[in-house]
């Protein structure tokens, strides 16, 4: 059974249908992609999967349990972590503090600046491991606000990993990144692949083709096709596009 499943999702805003008959399933240990042009409904879909919006019809299942309509907070507590297209970091705090806040034992007793979190050896160790995973070990005590954009993205993923997620959702991780930063991000995600169950929402086809085990293409609020990167790449229009020339 898939770790995460969406069945027959339907969502409308007023008179407009934004999601129509969405069926998705993400297997444990796999990297799944959701791809589509701008305005196709990817982020709305993501928001329904992670509890931000309630679908008008359909179900979302995590580990066999129906989580439809649960609050984002309750869903996060079940072990589903998400990053945002727009960065959410505490700029005035150091890199390691940003990660510490998300470590479960710190989070559970409530974060308090008057207490010295740094004295908690177990939490510090955990944060150090995470920083190493995302390649930021040398910048642990820099201010998050001073990091270049690519590092901020990596830190954001680090914050998500610190929560020890069973499923990690990444929303448009390449947005705002240049070619070099995108390539570094791609390497970072390859390192995490198979150690985590990851779902990436992305409009950059090339990026996903290099990473994902399988991809669902969303357009007009529907899954218009799905397959492995090789299957999708075989399409003659993909072949004749810029992407085909690059790949």
């Amino acid at each position: 059974m898939a770790l995460f499943e969406a069945q027959h999702l339907h969502k409308r805003f007023g008179d407009r249908v934004v999601l129509e008959e969405i069926n998705l399933s993400f297997e444990a240990g796999q990297l799944s992609g959701i791809m589509g042009p701008n305005g196709a409904g990817k982020t709305t879909c993501f928001n329904v999967l992670t509890g931000r919006y309630k679908p008008d019809r359909g179900k979302v299942l995590f580990d066999g349990q129906d989580i439809t309509g649960m609050t984002p907070r309750a869903i996060a507590r079940k072990g589903i972590s998400r990053s945002f297209q727009i960065m959410n970091l505490f700029d005035d705090f150091s890199v390691i503090e940003n990660v510490l806040i998300a470590v479960p034992q710190v989070r559970d007793r409530g974060f308090n600046m008057t207490r010295r979190v740094a004295a908690d050896v177990a939490a510090m160790d955990k944060a150090a491991v995470v920083l190493e995973q995302v390649g930021l070990q040398d910048k642990a005590y820099e201010n998050a606000g001073s990091l270049p954009y690519g590092d901020r993205r990596a830190l954001e993923i680090g914050v998500a990993l610190a929560t020890e997620p069973r499923l990690l959702f990444l929303d448009e991780p390449t947005s705002g990144l240049g070619i070099d930063a995108t390539a570094r991000l791609s390497e970072l995600i390859l390192e995490l692949k198979h150690a985590y169950t990851i779902v990436i929402i992305e409009h950059d086809m090339k990026f996903l083709f290099g990473l994902a085990d399988n991809i669902a293409v969303i357009h007009w609020g529907q899954v218009i096709t799905r397959g492995t990167p090789d299957e999708l790449r075989a399409n003659k229009w993909v072949q004749s596009s810029n992407l085909g020339k690059l790949a």
Binding site: H219, W237, V238, N242
Partner: protein, 206 residues
């Protein structure tokens, strides 16, 4: 039983200006029916009435006279929030048209479908750069394969637009100045004088 997918029955839509001295600024007339699943290509200049026709088919615009039957149901008698279970209009703009609500819900019919039977794609953005075209065309074919009716509306301005239409569509409708001409295949379509006139050199290149 064989109910036609779509019956556009003596449909007429007029837009006029002036209260006392009414002048008709635009009128659209259509009368055709489609009996079975198909992918229908619709072409015509901007402002010729393509989108208006789509709006009339989905019931988001009211006809001046005539009617539209989708799967045997008069679309304008179906509940506003269920009309897109019969016919759905995909358009690029985020402009949302609100329905002309003239009757309370209990006086209207529910839709007989869960997932729309008629899909109207209004100027899908075909861009050869990113490779999404192929997935869009596959989706049109998938809907058609499931026994649905698909309209693809385009104002071609590149030779590959015509190639797409020829590749994916089985029959065609040409719209100009609010009137429709139907063609059974691509060759017959481009033989039509007004179509040649409209497409110009694109026909020879494609």
């Amino acid at each position: 039983m064989s109910v036609p997918f779509l019956e556009v029955d003596n449909l007429r839509k007029e837009y006029s200006r002036g209260l006392i001295n009414k002048r008709i600024t635009f009128s659209l007339e259509a009368n055709f029916s489609i009996e079975e699943p198909a992918i229908v290509g619709m072409m015509g200049p901007n402002g010729s009435g393509k989108t208006t026709l789509f709006e009339l088919i989905t019931g988001s615009n009211l006809p001046s006279s005539g009617r539209v039957m989708v799967m045997g149901q008069n679309i304008h008698d179906v509940r506003y929030d269920e009309r897109d279970r019969l016919a759905i209009h995909y358009h690029q703009s985020y402009q949302v048209r609100s329905f002309h609500r003239t009757r309370p819900k209990f006086m209207m019919q529910p839709a007989d479908c869960e997932y729309p039977m008629v899909h109207l794609f209004d100027e899908p953005q075909f861009n050869t750069q990113d490779g999404y075209i192929g997935f869009m065309l596959d989706f049109f074919r998938k809907l058609r394969g499931e026994g649905r009716l698909v309209f693809v509306c385009l104002h071609p301005n590149e030779p590959f637009h015509l190639n797409i239409m020829r590749e994916v569509c089985e029959r065609y409708i040409f719209v100009r100045d609010g009137s429709l001409t139907l063609a059974d295949d691509f060759d017959k379509l481009v033989e039509l004088e007004p179509v040649r006139d409209y497409l110009g050199r694109l026909v020879d290149v494609a």
